[in-house]
C-alpha cells in the first residue's frame, strides 16, 4: 500500500511536469495533498506486534505481559511464565469456547488447539468474539485470524472437523497425543482439554477420548434457555466421568412445563456465555499455574445469582469401560499417592521457620479430604445439592417398553441382512 501510494505521487509529479496548460496544476496539487494524507494515515495504521522471547515483568506500556507478571510479584502465582509451556485444547469454538480462547491468548498461553466444524454466521453476533466480516469463515480459521493478531506468541492449531464421527474422533485423539510442542512432557501432548460444546453427543466424545488417554479435562455448558450454566473438572479415575451419571445441570428455577420451546431450538446470551467462559478459564489458570482452589463443579444460576458447588466420586458401575480402567489404576496407585503427599508435607514443614510468619493454619493442606464441598457418589441422585438437577435419566436395567417380540439375537450373515434391507428399499 505504502509503495503504491509513493508511485502514485511520482506519477502525479510527472503529469504535472508534462502538462502544457498550467490551469490544471492546482487540482493536481490538491490530488497530491490527498495522497500524502493517505500515506500518513497508512503509516499510523494498525501494526502487528512482534513476538517476544521472554515474558518481562517490566512495567512499560509496550510490554503486553507486565500486568500478568505482576501476579507473580504480588505472590498470587509462584511462576507465571510457566504458562508459555502449556498446551490447552478447546473443543467447540462457539459462544463459550471462542471467549475462553481469547482469554487464554491474552494470558499468553503457550499453545491452543481449536476444534469446531461450524462456520461463523450472522446469527452468532449476539455472542462475543466473532465479527460480522468473518461470516462464512470456519470458526477455527476466524479464531486463528483474530487470536494471532492479539498475541502472536501463542502457537495456534486449527482443526475443522466433527469429533463425534469415527474419523473425526481419530484425528482428535492423535492431535492430542502429538508432543512436538514439548517433547519431554509426560502423558499426552496437552495439559488440559476444555469442552465448550453445546450438545451431549460431543461431550460424550470428549469424555471417551479423555478416559482412554487418562487426560484431565474441564467441561462447560450453558442451558438452552440461556439463564444458567456450569463448569466441571474431570480427572479420569479420580472424579466422576461424564458418563458415570446422567449430566448434572443447574435448575433455572423455571417450571419446565411453562418454558415455551415451540419454534426454537435454543436461546443464547453473551452475558451468560461470557460468565461461564470466565469461570472456566479462571479454573484453568488455577489448575495450570497451581494457585487457589480448583473447583470440581461450579454452577451458575443467573436468575437467582446462585452458584452451587459440589464434587462427585466415580461410579464403580460406570458404563464406560475406559473409566473403570482408570478407576482401577487410581485405587492401585493410592499408597504411592499418599506417600508422595506425606513426603511433600514433611518437606514443606522443614521450610517453615520456627516462628511462623502466618500464625493461622486455617488454609493448610491435610491428607484427609475435608474440602467442605458437598461430596457425593456419581450414581446416587437423591443427594443432589440444592439447585442442581439431572438432565437425563439413567439407562433402565429392566425393559421399559412392553415388546411383542423377543430381543434380537443374530447369528445371521451381515451381507445377507444388508441385501434384505436393500430389497425392501428398492
Amino acid at each position: 500500500m505504502e509503495v503504491e501510494l509513493k508511485e502514485m505521487l511520482h506519477d502525479l509529479e510527472s503529469l504535472k511536469q508534462s502538462l502544457p496548460d498550467p490551469s490544471h496544476r492546482a487540482s493536481i496539487d490538491k490530488l497530491r495533498l490527498r495522497v500524502e494524507q493517505l500515506t500518513s494515515l497508512e503509516k499510523s495504521g494498525p501494526a502487528q506486534r512482534l513476538k517476544v522471547k521472554d515474558m518481562s515483568a517490566e512495567v512499560v506500556d509496550s510490554n503486553p505481559y507486565s500486568r500478568l507478571m505482576a501476579l507473580q510479584r504480588m505472590g498470587i502465582v509462584e511462576n507465571y511464565e510457566r504458562i508459555r509451556e502449556f498446551s490447552v485444547a478447546i473443543v467447540g469454538i462457539g459462544g463459550v469456547g471462542s471467549v475462553a480462547a481469547e482469554m487464554l491468548t491474552r494470558c499468553g498461553i503457550g499453545r491452543l488447539l481449536l476444534y469446531d466444524y461450524d462456520k461463523v454466521e450472522l446469527a452468532n453476533m449476539n455472542r462475543l468474539f466473532f465479527r460480522p466480516e468473518q461470516v462464512n469463515m470456519t470458526k477455527t480459521d476466524a479464531a486463528v485470524q483474530t487470536l494471532s493478531d492479539i498475541n502472536p506468541d501463542v502457537v495456534l492449531e486449527s482443526y475443522t472437523m466433527n469429533i463425534t464421527t469415527v474419523q473425526g474422533f481419530e484425528t482428535f485423539v492423535s492431535s492430542l497425543k502429538n508432543k512436538s510442542f514439548r517433547p519431554n512432557k509426560e502423558g499426552s501432548g496437552v495439559d488440559l482439554v476444555l469442552s465448550c460444546v453445546d450438545n451431549y453427543e460431543a461431550r460424550m466424545a470428549v469424555n471417551q477420548a479423555c478416559n482412554e488417554m487418562n487426560q484431565t479435562w474441564m467441561e462447560s455448558g450453558v442451558s438452552e434457555d440461556a439463564v444458567s450454566g456450569h463448569i466441571q473438572l474431570l480427572i479420569p479415575g479420580e472424579t466422576a466421568c461424564f458418563a458415570c451419571a446422567p449430566p448434572l445441570v443447574v435448575a433455572s428455577g423455571i417450571d419446565e412445563r411453562t418454558l415455551k420451546r415451540e419454534g426454537v431450538c435454543a436461546a443464547s446470551l453473551p452475558t451468560t456465555m461470557g460468565v461461564v467462559a470466565g469461570l472456566l478459564v479462571q479454573n484453568t489458570l488455577k489448575f495450570l499455574l497451581n494457585f487457589g482452589q480448583v473447583s470440581p463443579y461450579l454452577g451458575y444460576n443467573s436468575l437467582k445469582d446462585y452458584f452451587p458447588t459440589m464434587e462427585m466420586k466415580p461410579n464403580p458401575q460406570c458404563s464406560n469401560v475406559a473409566c473403570l480402567e482408570r478407576q482401577q489404576e487410581y485405587i492401585v496407585a493410592k499408597p504411592a499417592r499418599d506417600a508422595a503427599l506425606k513426603a511433600k508435607m514433611e518437606a514443606e514443614a522443614l521450610l517453615v521457620p520456627d516462628c511462623p510468619l502466618h500464625a493461622d493454619n486455617e488454609w493448610s493442606i491435610s491428607v484427609v479430604d475435608d474440602s467442605g464441598l458437598d461430596s457425593m457418589d456419581a450414581a446416587s441422585s437423591d443427594t443432589l445439592p440444592e439447585g442442581l438437577v439431572r438432565e437425563l435419566p439413567s439407562a433402565d436395567k429392566s425393559q421399559e417398553l412392553p415388546t411383542s417380540e423377543a430381543p434380537l439375537t443374530s447369528n445371521d450373515d451381515l451381507e445377507d441382512l444388508r441385501r434384505q434391507l436393500e430389497a425392501l428399499n428398492s
Partner: protein, 174 residues
C-alpha cells in the same frame, strides 16, 4: 412415555429391540450390533409397508456401517415432499443417538441446528438414555424424524419455505 402421541407409541413398541451395546470402534461386537440394526430396520420397514405408511429409505453408505444415507418423505395436502436424509453413527453410540440430518432444509427452519441436524423434542433424549442400548437406528427414526416431519413439513409448506417439485418452475426442493 409422557409427551408422545399414541400412534408413535404403538409403532415404537412393535420395533424389535436391540441387545448388544457396541459402538463403531468396538470391532467384532459392532458387527453384531450392526446385524441387530439391520434386523430392526427390516422389521420396521416391513411394518410401515404393510400399514401403508412407508416413509423412508435408508442404507449404510460405507462397509463399516458408520455412515447412513437415504430419503424420507411426508405427505401434506395430498402432495409428497421428499428430502435427503443422512447421519453418522457417533463414536459414543449407542449411549448417544445418531444426529439425523436433512441437509436440504438447512437454514430453512428454526427447528434445526447447523448442518441440517434436526432439533429433537425435550422428550427424545431422556427416552433414548433410559432405553440404552435397546434403541437403535429404527427407533431414532420413529421417535425423532417421524414426529419432526409431521410437525415441521406443514409449517415449511404453508410458509412457502418449500415448494412441491411439480408446483412451480422456480421450485428448488426435491
Amino acid at each position: 412415555m409422557e409427551g408422545w402421541d399414541p400412534n408413535t407409541k404403538s409403532t415404537l413398541t412393535q420395533i424389535p429391540l436391540l441387545t448388544t451395546k457396541a459402538g463403531p470402534r468396538d470391532g467384532a461386537v459392532w458387527t453384531q450390533r450392526l446385524k441387530e440394526e439391520y434386523k430392526s430396520l427390516i422389521a420396521y420397514t416391513q411394518m410401515n409397508k404393510s400399514n401403508d405408511n412407508d416413509w423412508f429409505r435408508i442404507s449404510a453408505s460405507n462397509p463399516e456401517g458408520t455412515r447412513w444415507t437415504g430419503k424420507c418423505w411426508y405427505v401434506h395436502n395430498l402432495l409428497k415432499y421428499e428430502f435427503d436424509l443422512q447421519f453418522d453413527i457417533p463414536v459414543t453410540y449407542p449411549s448417544t443417538a445418531p444426529e439425523l440430518e436433512l441437509p436440504q432444509l438447512d437454514g430453512k427452519t428454526q427447528k434445526m441446528y447447523r448442518g441440517g441436524k434436526i432439533c429433537l423434542t425435550v422428550h427424545f433424549k431422556p427416552l433414548w438414555a433410559k432405553n440404552c442400548p435397546r434403541f437403535g437406528i429404527a427407533h431414532a427414526l420413529c421417535l425423532g424424524l417421524a414426529p419432526w416431519l409431521a410437525a415441521e413439513v406443514p409449517i415449511l409448506v404453508d410458509s412457502g419455505m418449500i415448494k412441491h417439485k411439480d408446483d412451480a418452475t422456480t421450485s428448488t426442493e426435491t
